[in-house]
């Protein structure tokens, strides 16, 4: 009986733990180890050399990609958060329970469609003879180069992040005590004052977490910068793909990957710290 209890306990804890150790933790650890290996005669060779790190850190292409990725992801996360806020507010406070349910279902749908296809579909809208430029043409405006620019990448990132950002913001706002908002109204605070002094401070953790998810998603994405941004200025993900797919330089790609993970961990820690600052 107690043997069975112990056996069950260790099977249930052990099985998923073993899987994630073997196929999640170890691969990531190996990435770190591999960044110190060398490539000899196109063969990955165990080694302990700082060469890859030195090479990558000295490259201007790495730093310009790093900067570009940071700026784009920051822009995407901030614009997604700002654009989502009024929608999340409206879904949380102005829709009936039934309409809210429909809105949430509509926002969940994009998670289950291939992001690749959605990015491709944006080409239909953004290309030189696409939907937007056809509409602009009707107004007598000459085609604008939406596609193959940072703007194209940004549209792709927003496609990726917006549904998640709205949903997380809604989750946060739904937890606000309604009587706080009524109290603000009764004390004759206007809508803006209510938003800035009641809603945003109360929902702050979820707003920051939503921002963080948008940042993480955009920072790691390679589809939008490649197929909507034109791939002219590579992001770090593009750099990894190029390094892996052409030339077998896996250790150098590992250096880029570790740099990305370090950036994401630091950003997450800072964001979570900011989110819960001043809360007990």
């Amino acid at each position: 009986m107690s043997y069975q209890r112990l056996g069950l306990r260790w099977t249930l804890i052990g099985a998923p733990l073993l899987w994630q150790l073997l196929f999640f933790a170890l691969p990531l650890l190996f990435l770190l180890v591999m960044s110190f290996w060398s490539v000899q005669n196109f063969q990955l060779t165990p080694d302990f050399t700082p060469k890859n790190w030195v090479t990558m850190m000295r490259r201007d292409t790495f730093w310009s990609a790093y900067q570009y990725t940071w700026v784009l992801a920051l822009g995407a996360a901030c614009s997604a958060s700002l654009l989502a806020l009024p929608a999340a507010y409206s879904i949380s406070f102005h829709l009936s329970a039934r309409l809210r349910r429909y809105a949430i279902i509509l926002l969940v749908i994009p998670f289950f469609t291939c992001y690749l296809v959605r990015a491709y579909a944006w080409q239909i809208f953004l290309s030189d003879n696409g939907v937007y430029n056809s509409l602009l043409g009707l107004l007598g405006i000459s085609p604008l180069p939406f596609l193959n620019s940072a703007y194209g990448s940004l549209v792709g990132y927003l496609t990726l992040c917006m549904p998640l950002v709205v949903l997380i913001q809604v989750m946060g706002m739904m937890q606000i005590d309604r009587s706080l908002i009524e109290a603000a109204r009764n004390l004759s605070a206007g809508p803006w004052r209510t938003l800035f002094e009641v809603v945003i401070p109360s929902a702050k953790p979820s707003l920051v977490i939503a921002w963080l998810f948008a940042f993480i998603l955009s920072f790691g994405d390679f589809v939008s910068p490649t197929y909507l941004g034109g791939g002219a200025s590579p992001t770090l993900s593009n750099l990894i793909i190029d390094t892996v797919k052409s030339g077998q330089q896996w250790p150098r790609a590992a250096v880029v990957a570790i740099a990305m993970i370090a950036t994401l961990v630091l950003t997450s820690l800072a964001a979570v710290g900011f989110a819960y600052k001043g809360k007990k």
Binding site: P16, Q20, F112, Y120, S134, I240, I261
Partner: protein
């Protein structure tokens, strides 16, 4: 003032949802458009792209492989996700927060990095470049979703239910099989369908580790690297239909879950 805000807020929400869903609608509409290049006005109705797509042996092959990978991924992710969710619900042990972190972290790691790490690691142990490597990687990403869904359901279960079963001399395994699993059955189905859909849609890690064994989204990626083709819209609409079917099924299962009760006698 409040009313103006209210109605403009609703209008804005509608616009945001419309923009989010616009690419889906566009890809559906243009998958039936006769013109090879996507532009307005539409040229006329055709099913040519669907015929072209689904007579392409590479696409058929990719669909078969996708299902062959996604269904086992759904099964194993759900089993492991249940084990992880139940461990979190029932047991307390040292390093539990680290355990949960390791279970739930994978979706936050960028897919390109996971792809590189899995490719490097799996090729070291001789598992890269085939359908197994996709299966292994997708379970890593699927497990967190399954765990989260099942954990939510377990949170609704009264812990004394299981204790009652133990008092009635049910063994831990018996109470698990006759109390816990029936209680969370709908969430298990939902988790299976969602993780299957997750695997069916994932392209970045699959692209890295699969070598020449393409799944459907990897096939789309290859199409994308080539020239503009309405076949991408056709194949995208097919993927969408498959995923939505899975999700609608999952939702109806988890919807049923709310009214279910555990059996009265084990």
């Amino acid at each position: 003032m409040w009313n103006l805000i209210r109605s403009s807020g609703r209008l804005y929400t509608l616009a945001v949802i419309a923009v989010i869903l616009a690419p889906l609608a566009a890809s559906l509409v243009f998958s039936f458009n006769a013109d090879r290049f996507p532009s307005l006005p539409l040229k006329g109705f055709t099913t040519e792209w669907y015929v072209l797509t689904f007579t392409d042996p590479l696409v058929i092959d990719a669909f078969q492989r996708s299902f062959l990978v996604a269904i086992p991924v759904g099964l194993v992710s759900t089993l492991l996700g249940f084990a992880a969710a139940y461990s979190d619900y029932r047991y307390s042990f040292r390093g539990k927060s680290l355990f949960n972190l390791m279970m739930l972290l994978p979706p936050t790691i960028p897919a390109v990095i996971m792809g590189l790490a899995m490719l490097a690691y799996l090729s070291r142990v001789g598992l890269a470049g085939n359908a197994y490597s996709i299966f292994i990687s997708h379970v890593v990403t699927g497990l967190p979703f399954a765990m989260a869904l099942i954990r939510l359901r377990l949170a609704q279960m009264d812990p004394s239910l299981e204790q009652a079963a133990w008092n009635l001399r049910a063994s831990p395994v018996q109470s698990l099989v006759h109390v816990v699993i029936p209680f969370s059955l709908q969430s298990l189905f939902a988790a299976f369908l969602i993780t299957t859909a997750v695997s069916f849609d994932e392209f970045a890690v699959a692209w890295f580790v699969s070598g020449l064994e393409e799944t459907v989204p990897v096939r789309v990626l290859v199409f994308l690297q080539g020239q503009v083709s309405p076949r991408i819209n056709a194949i995208g609409t097919a993927i969408f239909a498959t995923s939505i079917l899975l999700v609608v099924l999952a939702m109806s299962f988890s919807g049923l879950g709310k009214s279910s009760k555990p059996p009265e006698t084990p």
